[in-house]
C-alpha cells in the first residue's frame, strides 16, 4: 500500500486500525540472485537500491535477529557530511544528497531534519582543525561555516560559552544541512520499499557458513533456516563482520568495540540543533519525543558485549554538564551499547574481497548512520556490476596493502 493523504486521513478517522503489514515475513527460497547478510540500515538500503536502481530483484536480506535491531536502532541519528578528505566527502555527501529526498523516494517519513550540526572548538589546535575542515568542505562545494563564540551561542542558546569553562568554547563550525533523521524509520522505510520491489527480508535467520565452489567462488550460505544458494553475497554485518567473513576464511582489518549512547527523560524543545565536541568528547541532540540523545565513547578493549562501562558514559555526562549547565539535573532514562567495527583509519571498507562473489560493506565504526543511503547505493552498484562504484573505489580492502589510507582518525583528532 502506498501512503497518501487520502488513506492517512481515513486512518485517522478509523482509529489507525486496518493498516496492512509494511513488509512480508517470507520463508527463504532455495536460491536468489544476491544475498545481503544483515538487515540493518545499510543492508536494507543495499537491497532497496539493488532492486530499484540496478535491476537485481531476486534478493534476500538475512538477519539473525530482527531488522534494525543492531546499531541502526542504537545510534544517535546524526546526519552530516563535513569530512576532511575528498574520498570521504564523496561518499558522505552522496548520502547527504539522498537524505534530502529520501522520505519522498521511499514514500515513508524518515524525519530527516536539517537543524544544523555544530562542531565545537576548545583550543587553538581545535580551531585550526575545525577551520581546516570548513575550508576543505567549501572547496568541495559542501556547506560548512565558521562561527564565533557569540554566533555559536546565538545559534544554540543553551550552550555555555563562559571563558571560565575548563574547556571554553572558542568557536564552532556549522553545517546547516546536517541534522538528524529517525533511525527506526530509516530501517522501516528501506525495508518496506525493498519488500514492495520483491526483496525477501528474512528475520531470525542466522548465517552459519558460507558455501564455496571448487573455484573458490561463493555459491551460497547455510543458515539456521536451511541452505540458500546465490552467486553473490554482500556482507553488511557491522560489528559482527569479522565473525561472518571468517566463514569464508577472510581476515579483516577490523576491531569491534562497544560504543555507548544515552537518552534523558523527555522535556519540551530546548536544544535546537546537534552539538558535537571532539575535544571533550560528547555529542547531543534532542529527539522529537523530547529526549536528549547523547553519544558517548567506546570502551578501550575489543568487545561484543553490547554493554559499555559506566565510567565512559559518566565522562561524557560531565562534559555535557559543563557545556549545558541547564541539563545538570536531567535524569538519564536509558543507556545502552552497540558493537561498532572500527578500521585503523576510521574509514569504511566498501567493495570486493579476495573471494569471488563475496562483497563487504563494513568498518563504518562509530559514525555509519549518516551514510546509510549513500553506502547502500554505492554498495548495490558494486554488487550488481561486480566492480567498485567510483565513489566506493577508494574504500577497498586493498588500501591497507597499498598504504593509501583515508585517515579520518587523524583528521578528526577524536579519541575513537
Amino acid at each position: 500500500m502506498r501512503y497518501h493523504i487520502g488513506n492517512l486521513l481515513r486512518g485517522s478517522l478509523s482509529g489507525q486500525t486496518g493498516w496492512p503489514a509494511q513488509w512480508r515475513d517470507p520463508a527463504p527460497k532455495p536460491s536468489y540472485e544476491a544475498i545481503v547478510v544483515g538487515a540493518g540500515g545499510h543492508g536494507l538500503a543495499t537491497a532497496y537500491y539493488l532492486a530499484s536502481r540496478y535491476g537485481v530483484n531476486r534478493v534476500a536480506v538475512l538477519e539473525k535477529g530482527w531488522l534494525g535491531g543492531g546499531n541502526t536502532g542504537r545510534n544517535t541519528t546524526i546526519v552530516r557530511s563535513n569530512y576532511l578528505w575528498q574520498e570521504s566527502q564523496g561518499i558522505y555527501e552522496h548520502a547527504m544528497k539522498l537524505w534530502q529526498d529520501l522520505s519522498h523516494e521511499l514514500n515513508y517519513n524518515v524525519m530527516y531534519s536539517a537543524r544544523g550540526v555544530l562542531t565545537l572548538a576548545h583550543s587553538v589546535h581545535d580551531i585550526q582543525i575545525v577551520k581546516r575542515h570548513v575550508h576543505a568542505n567549501r572547496l568541495s562545494g559542501i556547506d560548512n561555516e565558521w562561527l564565533t563564540p557569540a554566533q555559536t551561542k546565538e545559534f544554540c542558546p543553551p550552550l555555555n560559552i563562559s571563558p571560565s569553562l575548563r574547556y571554553p568554547v572558542l568557536g564552532a563550525s556549522l553545517q546547516r544541512r546536517g541534522g538528524t533523521a529517525r533511525h527506526d524509520a530509516v530501517a522501516w522505510g528501506f525495508a518496506r520499499a525493498a519488500d514492495r520491489l520483491g526483496v525477501d527480508i528474512i528475520q531470525n535467520c542466522e548465517v552459519t557458513a558460507i558455501r564455496r565452489g571448487p573455484d573458490g567462488a561463493v555459491t551460497g550460505v547455510e543458515t539456521t533456516r536451511g541452505a540458500i544458494a546465490a552467486p553473490k553475497i554482500g556482507v553488511v554485518a557491522a560489528g559482527h563482520t569479522s565473525h561472518v567473513m571468517a566463514m569464508a576464511d577472510v581476515r579483516m582489518p577490523l576491531e569491534s568495540y562497544t560504543l555507548q549512547a544515552l537518552v534523558s527523560e523527555p522535556v519540551k524543545p530546548v536544544l535546537p540543533c546537534v552539538v558535537m565536541s571532539n575535544g571533550v568528547h560528547a555529542y547531543i541532540s534532542q529527539s522529537d519525543k523530547g529526549e536528549l540523545v547523547i553519544g558517548s565513547g567506546t570502551d578501550q578493549y575489543l568487545s561484543y558485549a553490547q554493554t559499555g562501562a559506566l565510567h565512559i558514559s559518566t565522562h561524557t555526562l560531565e562534559a555535557i554538564s559543563d557545556l549545558f549547565p541547564a541539563f545538570r539535573r536531567m535524569r538519564m532514562l536509558r543507556n545502552w551499547g552497540g558493537i561498532v567495527d572500527v578500521t585503523v583509519d576510521r574509514s569504511p571498507i566498501v567493495g570486493l574481497t579476495p573471494v569471488p562473489g563475496l562483497f563487504v560493506n563494513c568498518g563504518w565504526g562509530t559514525g555509519g548512520f549518516k551514510a546509510t543511503p549513500g553506502s547502500g547505493e554505492v554498495f548495490a552498484a558494486t554488487i550488481a556490476k561486480g566492480v567498485p562504484h567510483p565513489i566506493a573505489a577508494p574504500f577497498s580492502m586493498e588500501r591497507f596493502r597499498t598504504g593509501r589510507l583515508i585517515d579520518e582518525a587523524a583528521a578528526a583528532g577524536v579519541a575513537h
Partner: protein, 101 residues
C-alpha cells in the same frame, strides 16, 4: 568496568589503572626487507577480532607501567588469566578443559 590482575604487581586492580593495547602475540617481521606489502598489511592492520576468547595486551599505566597479556572473553568479559609479556600464548582450549575436569 573490568577487574584486572597485574601479573607483575600481583594485585587485582580496576580497569581505569590500565590501558588496553590490542591483540597480543603479533610479532614484527624479523627481516622487514624480506616481507611483501601483504604481509606488512597483515602485521599492521589485520586482526582476529574474535567473538570469544581473545589474547590481548594490557599496560598497567597507573601502576608498575609494564606491559602484560590477558586472555579475556569478548562477549562476557571473563578474564581467564593474565601473564607476563614474553611468556608463550597459553593453550586456551586445554585450560578450559582442565577447569571443567
Amino acid at each position: 568496568m573490568l577487574n584486572i590482575r597485574c601479573p607483575y604487581c600481583e594485585e587485582d586492580r580496576p580497569e581505569i589503572e590500565f590501558r588496553n593495547a590490542g591483540e597480543a602475540h603479533i610479532a614484527r617481521p624479523d627481516e622487514p626487507d624480506r616481507v611483501d606489502d601483504r604481509q606488512w598489511a597483515d602485521f599492521l592492520y589485520t586482526r582476529d577480532n574474535p567473538k570469544g576468547w581473545h589474547a590481548e595486551r594490557w599496560r598497567h599505566v597507573h601502576g608498575c607501567g609494564r606491559f602484560f597479556n590477558a586472555v579475556r572473553h569478548s562477549v562476557d568479559d571473563r578474564i581467564l588469566l593474565t601473564y607476563k609479556a614474553g611468556e608463550p600464548k597459553p593453550d586456551i582450549e586445554r585450560m578450559l578443559r582442565e577447569r571443567e575436569a
